[in-house]
Symmetry: C2
Subunit: 479 residues, 2 copies
């Protein structure tokens, strides 16, 4: 048994002194041949190890370079230094692994840029920024499971590989075990997918919703939390080819139930991070202040990160219809001064500039927009009585844009079939989906939350590549 250590987070949390502990971690700094700051990833805070002068060989001390790994045993004593209440007076010090200072790619004193850190994503977890981001990401993920478990939702693993390409949410990646050379062909020259692994053409899922509805119409309430994929050539700070999505689906629910759940859910997971990751969030708040110092005053956030999160927790999300949203835009000074690049009129799919105006300028808080024109939304959304709009909802967040997309689902078989026909969705491929409307159909609703966009919002990071461990984007699939 090697792992007889106390984690630094736990050690710092107790202010007890006088006992012996073993700490293991990586060297952050070594000052005056005496003060060794060790980090073990449990927190951004280091434990200070004090080496008495003359106690250890010079040769050993020379090896205490950044990121060398050490095992230290010693007594916990009150610290005289500022910034920590306790420190460890070393009795024994062992170097587990050296780190060649010349070659180590992460020289923190050089303040590596986020762009550079993406190139060494295998090492960036060792920085304070990414330590904080990924511990917050962990907490948000755990809070998501905790929230749904407490409410009695069943966690459903919907399939990743799918033969159904009917959802129309975007471009899909092909999954295949057929070769490009000597591809099996039918007599007419087309590819013979019967020879493929699954006996048909298959893709990576863009959403687990349709299968989620199968679960909800049996268990009542389910959620998914899994990877989803888009083969879209979008090289932006908000898009990934592989990202994680949470999709709750609730039987016996309408659009208002859906909005209530989404708002409660978002507040719950933010509150959980505030309660459990306060230090990490404060670090990230400070990081954001520093980052924004590079920007002109007018472009800086009005609120700090913690303030922003508290504001979201303490205020109701604004709820407006799409029609109201268009009216607000048409009456806005921005519109009158022709500051919008894209057209504004009823029926448009709102552009980022419109959403940002609503959220960041007009309401200055998260906004739920409902009842969109049917022509810009998916076939499964419930048609409203006006015959023109559907019971959809998007939640728009300041600085991020769309963070949630959802709807009440069309539970009426005839309406659904008519809509599928209009939109050229092949009913024969979705016989199983239609069965839920044939046998005990119920009003139901659900939404999808893009997990990385939520992590962006909570951490104040600005590029989505910095909140997922190893981002997959066009021309990039490193590590």
């Amino acid at each position: 048994m090697f792992n007889k250590r106390i984690k630094v987070k736990q050690l710092l949390a107790s202010e007890q002194t006088g006992h012996e502990v073993t700490v293991m971690g990586w060297v952050r700094t070594f000052r005056n041949n005496q003060f060794l700051a060790v980090n073990d990833g449990s927190t951004n805070n280091n434990i200070q190890i004090v080496l008495e002068l003359g106690q250890f060989d010079e040769a050993l001390l020379k090896r205490l370079t950044t990121s060398a790994s050490v095992k230290v045993t010693g007594e916990v004593v009150p610290s005289m230094g500022k910034g920590q209440k306790i420190e460890v007076k070393a009795k024994t010090l062992e170097i587990l692994g050296d780190s060649d200072a010349e070659k180590y790619p992460l020289q923190l004193r050089n303040r590596p840029s986020l762009e550079y850190l993406r190139e060494i994503a295998h090492m960036r977890f060792r920085t304070n920024t990414f330590g904080a981001v990924f511990r917050v990401r962990h907490s948000l993920a755990f809070a998501i499971h905790k929230f749904f478990n407490e409410k009695g939702f069943v966690y459903l693993h919907t399939p990743i590989i799918t033969a159904s390409d009917a959802e129309g949410a975007g471009e899909m990646f092909r999954v295949t075990s057929l070769p490009f050379d000597g591809t099996p062909r039918n007599e007419d020259g087309s590819v013979n997918f019967k020879e493929d692994f699954f006996g048909k053409s298959t893709n990576l899922t863009v959403s687990g919703q349709l299968e989620g509805e199968l679960g909800a119409t049996a268990f009542g309430e389910i959620y998914t939390f899994g990877p989803t994929f888009r083969a879209e050539n979008s090289n932006t700070a908000r898009h990934l080819a592989e990202f994680w999505m949470i999709e709750p689906e609730m039987a016996f629910s309408d659009l208002e139930d859906n909005m209530n759940l989404a708002e409660e859910f978002i507040k719950y997971i933010i509150q959980y991070a505030m309660d459990n990751n306060r230090e990490d969030l404060e670090f990230l708040a400070q990081r954001l202040v520093e980052e924004e110092k590079q920007k002109p005053q007018a472009e800086r956030s009005e609120m700090g990160l913690i303030e922003k999160l508290e504001f979201v927790l303490n205020n109701n999300f604004e709820r407006i219809t799409y029609t109201e949203a268009i009216d607000i835009l048409l009456q806005s000074p921005a519109y009158k001064k022709k500051k919008f690049q894209y057209e504004v009129k009823w029926g448009i799919d709102m552009q980022s500039e419109h959403e940002r105006y609503l959220v960041e300028k007009h309401f200055k808080k998260p906004v739920i927009v409902t009842n969109y024109p049917k022509d810009i939304k998916a076939f499964y959304m419930r048609l409203n009585e006006d015959g023109k709009t559907v019971a959809a909802m998007d939640i728009l967040a300041p600085g991020i844009g769309e963070i949630v997309g959802g709807s009440q689902r069309e539970e009426r078989l005839e309406n659904l079939e008519a809509r599928m026909k209009e939109m050229h969705v092949p009913a024969e491929d979705l016989w199983w989906y239609l069965d839920t409307r044939r046998f005990g159909t119920v009003p139901h609703a659900g939404f999808g939350l893009g997990f990385e966009r939520m992590v962006l919002f909570v951490t104040g990071m600005t590029n989505i590549r910095d909140v997922i461990a190893f981002p997959r984007t066009p021309k990039t699939a490193e590590f």
Copy 2:
């Protein structure tokens, strides 16, 4: 707001009477034009709704067929019938969705086979067996997150799409957006993967371990819980092409720490299901008894499902070395009577029949086998001092076989490089993996648990296709 209901599980848990409730769910049975059993998926138990004779139209009552969905409001009263303490005396009854009894594919009175239910996997959640299985699956998944969260492990989402095919864990699926017709080619005729979405050839991951090690050597302890893939043509009751895996990875840990964690972990999640899903497990135990009545006495389980789980909770896993395991096999009556189909000698990769003998006949409990010959294990496993074996561990479970595979990892750069060379693993593709050994390497260890095999073990189901929502196997990717 539509969702003003009490879930059946919650209603049955309280024995309070005299108040009014609204219940929504699906009809299970309707007897004597009077007793309506309604299920909402929160539990296998139904709430009995009592309809006073003459209170509702005959035409309405005729629509109360299996799986019709209903909304009932009424008073909770003590039940005179057996099997339940309370029932609901209906005041209002609304049919939300009809279910044509002639067409409904799931006629429970016919005792549909598990094979048939796989063909209607979109409806099988509505049976008691699959209700219980997927609620237990949910609880196990939640318990996994709870266990690691309490221990301070960071949940890491390792990539699903990967360009690294060096792990050698099995056949991989290709992920591509290149067309089969008019595939871009290099001058030498080979496929030009620079034109593919990620600018190189990519596959679906077979394991998140290598990336997990990158996390562990920064955060100390991490775990993954995500889908993994094998493009292997194995049409067995234990193999899936898409399955979920949990992979914890711990810095500052050796093989013994790894075994301790795995055993504690498995017991924790079983205990959680026992505490939170007792009714479902008792139902599944009874189901298993019924299923085994079809088998000859000698093939039936010695223990019932609940007994088996309690036995695992209350006993230490047996820990033996591979060398000891081979000795036990060589000295077994089965070997002496030539009952093994495959050869037994030091160096073999044990076959299922050998593992089953050890677990089911010899020890009759979970067994951890350690220190396998290096030639049958992966390149990243730590070489023992004997130069012949590696610090690997497999956990074998009765009735299931291998449920966990893990090892202490080779943290010594020279050893790892030598092993990669011997096994033809290209070092240039894994430069990032080797960097963890270059910069502050530490003793570390981890394992992978196949989630569906664990669900099989806990639910007593015997075919892995029955414990994942929509199984992906050769020639099958329905729903």
